[in-house]
């Protein structure tokens, strides 16, 4: 049996849960008790799907260990709102929040807010600008800005608040804009939320703006190779997360007979729990983590929790789940100092 020098983590996409609060609670608790490290919430437009960030926020107070990572669009959403909403998610989850950056390219998304459609390379640039705004706003309150000093009557130390003064760069493809700051909310509990993006946006988004990339391949066979390719592009400082659709033999039905249809363009694994366990054990030697997209949330989640995760854990392939740990802890990231913190208090180059 192989040994793992760097055990990985498993995320699960909870899209199969409905909009109803009870459904969401059930889904996220099932994922947490199954031992998943992170739950993600898609926000692509689909009938009946509630806002991803709110679903993640709803899950915050009822969970203790699982990281909560919604998709949030960067093209047609105000960067100031995104930043404060994500910082708030970090507060309501006790530091377990992350952000999957998406860039809506559909004409429908543009029409909904009455703007012209953004496509191609411009999507990455819009995303990069939004990430930069959020990161600056998260840093705009130094950690010890709230002082509550009764003697001087000061609630905050104004010297520890900073204007973000963001300006879209020259050559920005869309309508340029600026954001003043500071944030309306103190620095998130994690300092900076981990920022994840699909590998397809790298280029438009500079690699050093990201903490993790989501990697897809057309087939399971090609996935490990794609992970290695992306790793070579992003270096060791960025976590690489493989994307995998999953349908398992379950409840006496073979995976093939369950009639799952995947249309995400991702590699799909169909088969038995032991087969998936072996596949993931190999994949986790290449990837820092794997995000599973189950064909049927509760059916597959039950199999995963009963058979796959315990065996992976027994083999040493998975990091321990830490109660009250942060998402940064899970990714092995230190808590950075604010970029605006005075030199005496923090090392230079504290960016993300």
């Amino acid at each position: 049996m192989s040994t793992f020098e760097n055990p990985g983590f498993l995320a699960i996409e909870l899209d199969g849960a409905g909009w109803d609060g009870a459904d969401l609670t059930r889904a996220v608790l099932a994922a947490e008790s199954a031992g998943f490290h992170a739950a993600t919430f898609t926000d692509a437009p689909a009938p009946g799907r509630a806002n991803a960030l709110q679903r993640a926020a709803f899950a915050g107070p009822v969970t203790r260990s699982i990281a909560l990572v919604p998709e949030v669009d960067t093209v047609y959403t105000e960067p100031f709102h995104i930043s404060t909403q994500l910082a708030s998610l970090d507060y309501v989850s006790g530091g377990r929040a992350g952000w999957i950056v998406t860039a809506a390219g559909s004409p429908e998304a543009a029409a909904a807010v009455g703007r012209s459609s953004v496509t191609g390379a411009a999507l990455g640039q819009e995303a990069a600008a939004s990430i930069e705004v959020s990161r600056r706003l998260w840093d705009s309150w130094e950690d010890d800005a709230v002082i509550r000093d009764v003697a001087t009557g000061r609630y905050i130390d104004v010297d520890k608040l900073h204007y973000a003064d963001f300006q879209t760069p020259a050559g920005f493809p869309g309508a340029g804009y600026s954001v003043k700051g500071p944030s309306i909310i103190p620095r998130p509990l994690q300092g900076q939320l981990p920022v994840l993006a699909p590998a397809s946006l790298i280029g438009g988004i500079p690699v050093d703006a990201l903490d993790a990339v989501l990697v897809s391949a057309p087939t399971p066979e090609l996935l490990a190779a794609e992970v290695r390719d992306v790793r070579a592009r992003v270096g060791a400082g960025v976590a690489v997360v493989a994307e995998l659709d999953v349908v398992l033999d379950a409840r006496g039905q073979a995976a093939a007979a369950r009639g799952a249809s995947f249309d995400g363009g991702r590699a799909a694994f169909a088969g038995s729990a032991p087969g998936l366990t072996d596949f993931l054990a190999d994949l986790l030697k290449e990837a820092d983590g794997v995000r599973l997209h189950p064909a049927s949330l509760f059916v597959d989640l039950e199999e995963l929790g009963r058979w796959v995760l315990p065996e992976l854990r027994r083999r040493g392939a998975l990091r321990p789940v830490v109660q009250d740990g942060t998402f940064r802890d899970l990714l092995g990231l230190d808590r950075p100092a604010s970029r605006y913190a005075t030199a005496a208090a923090a090392p230079a180059g504290a960016g993300k």
């Binding site: 909009w19 109803d20 609060g21 969401l24 609670t25 437009p45 689909a46 009938p47 009946g48 799907r49 509630a50 806002n51 960030l53 709110q54 679903r55 926020a57 709803f58 899950a59 915050g60 107070p61 009822v62 047609y76 959403t77 105000e78 960067p79 100031f80 709102h81 404060t84 909403q85 910082a87 708030s88 998610l89 507060y91 309501v92 006790g94 429908e108 029409a111 909904a112 807010v113 009455g114 309150w141 709230v146 509550r148 009764v150 009557g153 000061r154 609630y155 905050i156 130390d157 104004v158 608040l161 309508a175 804009y177 954001v179 003043k180 700051g181 500071p182 309306i184 909310i185 103190p186």
Partner: protein
């Protein structure tokens, strides 16, 4: 879902009941942070504690404000008062999972949001909470706030309610667009001067049909807007005679807008300072005020109007003899500041303080404390006072701003609520599962496309 079963009454009928809401204040000067028992303003636990206490007290709703830019003082963020707050809808979505009944009201601006996006997020909150969401509609119109947004400060003051109304009508059409609870949804189009919206909504109706609409704003335009669009209005008139007059005015406006006399409920902001006896309550009030307006706050308050540093002045001495800077420098000088009238106001204030023998601190306390909206007294006396409000229908409810976080509702829930229940003027259980049911509001009439065309702006 029942559709508008109650007959539209031309005559106002008091409900005989008072409901409570709680306003968890973010950036403000009323929340005491200097007392040892004062907790965090941002930790989730503070929000959870207040919301769950309110729910134990059968409060109809939990309200959050919206932050779009930090207050400034003489060109820098204001340092003295509580500052910083989570995003309203994100926090309310989290509270939805640890509460069962209480309504969740998000203050959201019509100027710096997109209608389709905001309507979708409010519908999401309404669904995950099982029909408990509400939108407190506010408007902003200044470039200073706009500096944080892509769209900038593009809205003229005169246009803000026109824009707000087109925005709200669009949101209503988005919420109304499902033919049945299971769909399909109708495409919603709006072409206005400020926005073009072309969207096929994604979310079904909630258990309460659509989010309850609150409106804050006291100008004639604001009142007319509420009379046409809102379910509940926050008024600035909690004092008994004012409240009765405001009710009369709002009933007239509601009827003129083609709605029933009881269509819009009234829920003014309020503060409670309570104790077992009147004497203890009076003493408590002194203590509360001394912590709300300390010496530094008193000076800073005058600095907003004077436009200059006044730190050399003694807070326990008379108002500054020096004149204010007249030109209007920025938003940050305070909403009450009007450049041309600065000197006139200073003269007036100096005369008033001299007349009444007030120091700077005493004068500022008299200007800033919520004198009109404070209910001070013994539990029984205040309960008697509120019973009279309920009897004549002066208000439908009160929106309480606790001056202490997170324990600020404890005495209200433990002592005042039972007194009110004994008098038969306060609910003894939640009326239903949704906010609309708690408030006894009618099921909204589905908005018709024809009606919408008329208010396009």
């Amino acid at each position: 879902m029942k559709q508008h079963t109650r007959a539209k009454s031309e005559v106002f009928v008091p409900s005989g009941q008072i409901q409570f809401g709680v306003f968890f204040q973010g950036v403000n000067s009323g929340t005491i942070w200097k007392a040892p028992e004062s907790g965090s303003q941002t930790d989730f636990e503070s929000f959870r504690r207040i919301a769950q206490t309110a729910e134990r007290g059968l409060f109809a709703a939990f309200f959050l404000g919206e932050g779009l830019r930090l207050r400034e003082h003489l060109g820098r963020p204001h340092a003295l008062d509580v500052v910083g707050r989570p995003d309203a809808q994100t926090m309310l979505a989290a509270l939805a999972s640890v509460t069962k009944n209480i309504g969740l009201v998000a203050t959201q601006n019509t100027t710096y949001n997109d209608p389709a996006d905001l309507a979708h997020r409010l519908a999401s909150l309404d669904l995950v909470s099982g029909g408990r969401a509400a939108w407190n509609i506010v408007t902003t119109d200044n470039a200073w706030t706009g500096a944080n947004f892509r769209r900038g400060g593009y809205l003229d003051h005169a246009d803000r309610y026109k824009h707000a109304e087109a925005f709200v009508e669009t949101a209503k059409r988005i919420w109304d667009s499902w033919e049945t609870p299971d769909g399909p949804a109708r495409r919603v189009l709006h072409e206005g001067r400020r926005y073009t919206v072309d969207v096929t909504p994604r979310l079904p109706r909630s258990a309460q049909y659509r989010p309850v609409l609150f409106q804050a704003g006291d100008s004639p335009e604001g009142r007319n807007f509420a009379a046409r669009q809102a379910d509940v209005i926050f008024s600035a008139h909690p004092k008994f005679e004012d409240a009765v007059a405001f009710r009369k005015d709002l009933v007239e406006r509601s009827l003129a807008a083609g709605r029933g006399a009881n269509a819009v409920q009234i829920m003014p902001a309020s503060e409670f300072i309570l104790a077992p006896t009147a004497a203890e309550a009076a003493e408590k009030k002194e203590w509360v005020r001394s912590l709300q307006i300390g010496p530094q706050q008193a000076i800073a308050y005058l600095e907003q109007f004077w436009g200059r540093e006044l730190s050399a002045y003694d807070p326990d001495g008379p108002l500054p003899e020096i004149d204010p800077v007249v030109e209007e420098t920025s938003e940050t000088r305070g909403s009450g500041f009007h450049g041309a009238k600065a000197r006139q106001l200073a003269d007036q204030w100096r005369a008033e303080a001299k007349d009444k023998g007030l120091s700077i601190r005493q004068f500022v306390t008299s200007k800033t404390a919520r004198i009109d909206s404070t209910f001070t007294g013994s539990y029984t006396a205040v309960a008697d006072q509120l019973a009279e409000y309920a009897r004549v229908g002066a208000v439908d409810g009160l929106n309480i701003s606790p001056w202490l976080v997170p324990s600020g509702l404890d005495d209200i829930v433990n002592h005042l609520v039972p007194e009110l229940q004994e008098r038969g003027v306060y609910p003894t259980e939640y009326r239903g599962a949704t906010l609309r049911e708690h408030l006894g509001l009618e099921t909204p009439v589905r908005s018709a496309d024809e009606a919408v065309a008329a208010v396009r702006a």
